[in-house]
């Protein structure tokens, strides 16, 4: 089967957010070309933001992605607050971290149980998985309840699971009441066992062997596992402030895709997301999470992209505990938000979306209108890495029938939990300035 | 404690007879014999018909009191509930509560001439009045039924016309649009009035149909000398409780479900003509 030319084509990737296609061209047993094509229709967010009031940015950018709207709201608010020279008091900071925990849990569990696990267990979907045996049904049901607990956080702190309404530049609209917070903490405590069970479940999956020397890029914070702040670091010595991002990274248009790909300047692909965070911040996880990770057999460092699913489960566990800690130690602030007056300025920020670093940069004018916006989502950044993984990996599936080969290739893509809606939020307006 | 007036009672669908395209008559019977026995209605009253999972609507009782077993409802399939009813087959269980509302003045009509004027589905609530009048034919003077349908195939209860006529009803039918087979009148119902040899002083007029048609009928009758207090109309509005609590069916001071649907025209005259009131 390894003679001649062959093309493995997946017209539309399933179980990813958004619309993407994959083409792997093989010739004589060699990978000739790989195109991870994102055909999701472009939505021009960076253009739409021009002329809008800065207070509208968190609501508008949330709509880039229904799976990780909180990430957009977090990066947007922090970038704008940076521009306005504001820093938030610790209770508001804590609420934002809490909100992010909710999104990490909800998004990771969705990916683990619904999008990725069926690959490892060879089901078309988690619904088919649930319908196949009582044990798997229980597993799926438990994952759903865990996801619900994550959503409960976003629901309370954000107002609703998708496109939260309670986030604003300067803080929040309303601080959840004590009774609401207490009920949420209870829900989360009840979810801890499920988080452990999820980790045990995925840890038992048979991971294909892989080992590659990636450049991992993530935030790193002085004493926390990174979410909303930190410096941008890599395992190859990168250590920069947010503002330097454009000096080190650059987006490219590729002819076959509606999304731009981001690469290291003068270099190549890099890897963002849970595995990068794990490799760069493993020491910032609290002892319980570290121990659970160790028991699950996760190594550090870990260069197997298939292990991402395990890292996600570790992060879920961490986020549940972190959310409980944040709720238990919460002291309500005097006011739900810090008022501000607009000034002409520029602001840059990066936060850790579930899928990796999310860069926002805004230029605002004297009356608080946006004059320029740049957004670089994690999926754009991983896109080149995904292609390179496929080039490395494709030869090993050559002997499989087309459908199986396609499936194995998809699994490689899903290691990155690509969010295609995010990646096509724009047609790069950014290029204009250059 | 007061029992819940919103509560439907199970009834079994016994028969479905197609009447015209989009209209069928449903025969149904309360599941509990006691409830069936306790149910007494008067011509012109209506029931609330409930379809579990879908909703509840007001439907006139098309059968006369004491006419066979159970109750008959003639229903046009126009919306959510009625369309869902359309697919029911005998044996299905639905809910019923009633009877509600006022009735045609069948008793008051003794000794007088009666003109029944129906437009379209408006014949359904008049049918029990026809049956009641004919059941005691000798008690009344002349009995006319003026009936207007959109087209010949839209006429309800065609099979019964001969019996009615034999029993002493003078039936005049008109259609908006005739077809090749149609030999009768063409035009709007109120115009049929002009064909009647009325003695206005001894005539009662009962009408049910679209509001515009009823208004024209009323004017025609009054123009012919019938007293406004001798003209009865049956009105429709959205109804949800049927017991004067929910407020949907108001027309000025009237709750149509409780004080109506049948009114002496006099009582509602000043509001009926008000557009969108």
């Amino acid at each position: 089967m390894s003679e001649g030319t062959r093309t493995i084509r997946i017209e539309a990737l399933a179980r990813v957010e958004g619309e993407g296609a994959l083409t792997v061209h093989l010739r004589e047993g060699r990978v000739e070309d790989v195109h991870f094509r994102i055909f999701e229709a472009p939505r021009f967010f960076e253009a739409l933001l021009r002329g809008r009031d800065l207070t509208e940015v968190p609501d508008i950018t949330a709509r880039i992605c229904g799976i990780c709207p909180v990430a957009y709201q977090m990066s947007a608010c922090h970038a704008l607050e940076a521009a306005l020279g504001m820093s938030l008091p610790s209770p508001l900071r804590a609420l934002r971290r809490l909100l992010y925990c909710g999104e990490w849990i909800e998004s990771h569990v969705l990916h683990i149980a619904f999008l990725h696990a069926p690959d490892f267990l060879r089901f078309e979907s988690s619904i088919a998985m649930a319908q196949s045996s009582p044990e798997l049904a229980e597993q799926v049901r438990s994952a759903l309840q865990l996801k619900k607990a994550g959503n409960a956080i976003v629901n309370l702190i954000g107002g609703r699971e998708i496109h939260p309404i309670n986030v604003r530049v300067g803080g929040f609209y309303r601080i959840p009441r004590q009774d609401e917070r207490a009920a949420l903490a209870e829900t989360l405590r009840a979810a801890r066992d499920r988080a452990h069970a999820l980790l045990r479940w995925v840890a038992a999956f048979e991971l294909p062997a892989a080992d590659h020397d990636y450049e991992f890029v993530a935030l790193r914070h002085d004493d926390e596992y990174p979410m909303n702040e930190g410096r941008l670091v890599s395992n190859r010595g990168l250590d920069i402030a947010y503002a330097e991002f454009p000096n080190e990274f650059q987006e490219h248009q590729v002819p076959y895709s509606n999304a731009l790909q981001c690469r290291r300047k003068g270099g190549g692909a890099y890897f963002v997301g849970p595995l990068a965070r794990w490799n760069l911040n493993h020491d910032r996880l609290p002892p319980e999470a570290q121990q659970a990770a160790a028991e699950s057999g996760l190594t550090w460092p870990c260069r197997n992209p298939y292990a991402s699913i395990v890292v996600r489960a570790v992060e879920v566990l961490f986020a549940v505990d972190e959310a409980i800690r944040l709720l238990d130690t919460f002291e309500p602030p005097a006011s739900a938000f810090i008022p501000f007056e607009p000034v002409a300025a520029e602001g840059v920020w990066i936060t850790e979306a579930p899928r990796g670093i999310l860069y926002h940069r805004y230029v605002i004018d004297t009356v608080g209108k946006i004059s320029e916006a740049v957004i670089v989502p994690p999926t754009s950044q991983n896109q080149r890495q995904i292609e390179e993984d496929l080039i490395r990996f494709a030869p090993s599936v050559l002997d499989l029938p087309d459908d199986d080969a396609a499936w194995r290739c998809e699994q490689v893509v899903r290691n990155y939990d690509p969010c295609i809606s995010c990646a096509t939020h724009s047609l790069k307006l950014k290029v204009i300035g250059r | 404690m007061t029992s819940d007036p919103y509560c439907p009672h199970p009834a079994v669908l016994r028969s479905v007879e197609p009447e015209t395209p989009g209209v069928a008559t449903f025969g149904m019977e309360f599941q509990e014999p006691a409830r069936a026995a306790a149910f007494h209605h008067r011509p012109g009253q209506f029931n609330m018909v409930y379809l579990p999972g879908v909703g509840e609507v007001a439907i006139s009782i098309a059968s006369a009191p004491g006419e066979g077993v159970g109750l008959r409802h003639t229903i046009r399939f126009v919306g959510r509930v009625t369309n869902a009813l359309q697919s029911l087959r005998p044996g299905a269980v639905l809910g019923l509560r009633g009877p509600y509302g006022s009735a045609w003045p069948v008793e008051e009509a003794r000794g007088r001439d009666v003109v029944l004027v129906a437009g379209g589905l408006g014949l359904a609530p008049l049918r029990p009045a026809v049956k009641a009048l004919l059941a005691e034919r000798a008690q009344y003077g002349r009995l006319w039924l003026l009936y207007g349908a959109r087209q010949p195939s839209d006429r309800l209860y065609v099979a019964e016309y001969a019996d009615w006529e034999r029993a002493g009803l003078e039936l005049l039918v008109t259609v908006d649009r005739a077809d090749a087979s149609w030999r009768g009148a063409v035009g709007i119902v109120p115009l049929l009035f002009r064909k009647l040899a009325l003695d206005p002083s001894r005539t009662l007029v009962l009408t049910c149909g679209p509001e515009v048609m009823m208004r024209a009928t009323v004017h025609e009758a009054i123009d012919r000398g019938v007293a406004a207090s001798d003209v009865y109309v049956s009105l429709e509005r959205n109804m949800q409780c049927a017991v004067g609590l929910c407020g949907h069916c108001q027309l000025g001071p009237e709750f149509l479900c409780m004080n109506g649907p049948v009114f002496p025209y006099e009582r509602v005259a000043r509001f009926l003509g008000k557009e969108h009131f």
Partner: protein, 268 residues
Amino acid sequence: MIAQPLTVLNTRRAPRPRLGVFKFASCDGCQLSLLDCEDELLAVADRVEIAFFREATRRPLEGSFDVSLVEGSVSAPEQEAEIRDVRARSRFLITLGACASHGGIQALRNFSRVDDALAIVYATPETISTLPSSRPASDYVHVDLELPGCPINKRQLLSVLAQMLSGGKPRIDQHALCLDCKRQNVVCVLVAHGSPCLGPVTSTGCGVLCPSYDRPCFSCFGPAPQPNTASLAERFQAIGLSADHIRRLFQMFYNQAPEFLEEARRHE
């Protein structure tokens, strides 16, 4: 035997009704709402056959559907044929959310000339496929029901499915948000705080989120029937909003809804 044969979805007769979920230009949020029904998802999957749902299953697109849920706006050339194909395969087509029903937030670009922008922006604009504007499905095909929201409310989606499974044509409430504000004891943020709330002209459905978070509604459920936007805009002016602010309020998620489009124009 209870009210048996059901009109819209036939639940009692095998096979189960087939459900398809389709995506056009969007954020995925509306279809995610279905996966966010953590307590009901498996029950839904039991009652209906989830026959196509790319975000959740590898099953290929085949056959026809009793109900199709369509997310996203038509904004690329090939999507015009796609939406027609979905319609042809579907008995009952429901659009999910602001994008599918009105073009969504990305329809803000309908206000500028995308062709020109493309040429300036792209080194090779010809490789990018996009339509000049972002359009609702109803511009191309008949839509049986539009579920409003950016995103939709999953409760409303479940209610629609439940109604169909019970044999009724689904309906949803579309009155002004204020009615539910009051039913839920939420104090009016416009009257009590002077916040520019769009609730009086916005369709209900969200569950009164913003006012219950001390925030004025910014209409992610779009216009209620017969919205008196002019009177509300006048009120906003009286409480000190600039024309530009009023324009932006009406140019959000439902910027293409005729009533909002027109009101925004009055404040240009």
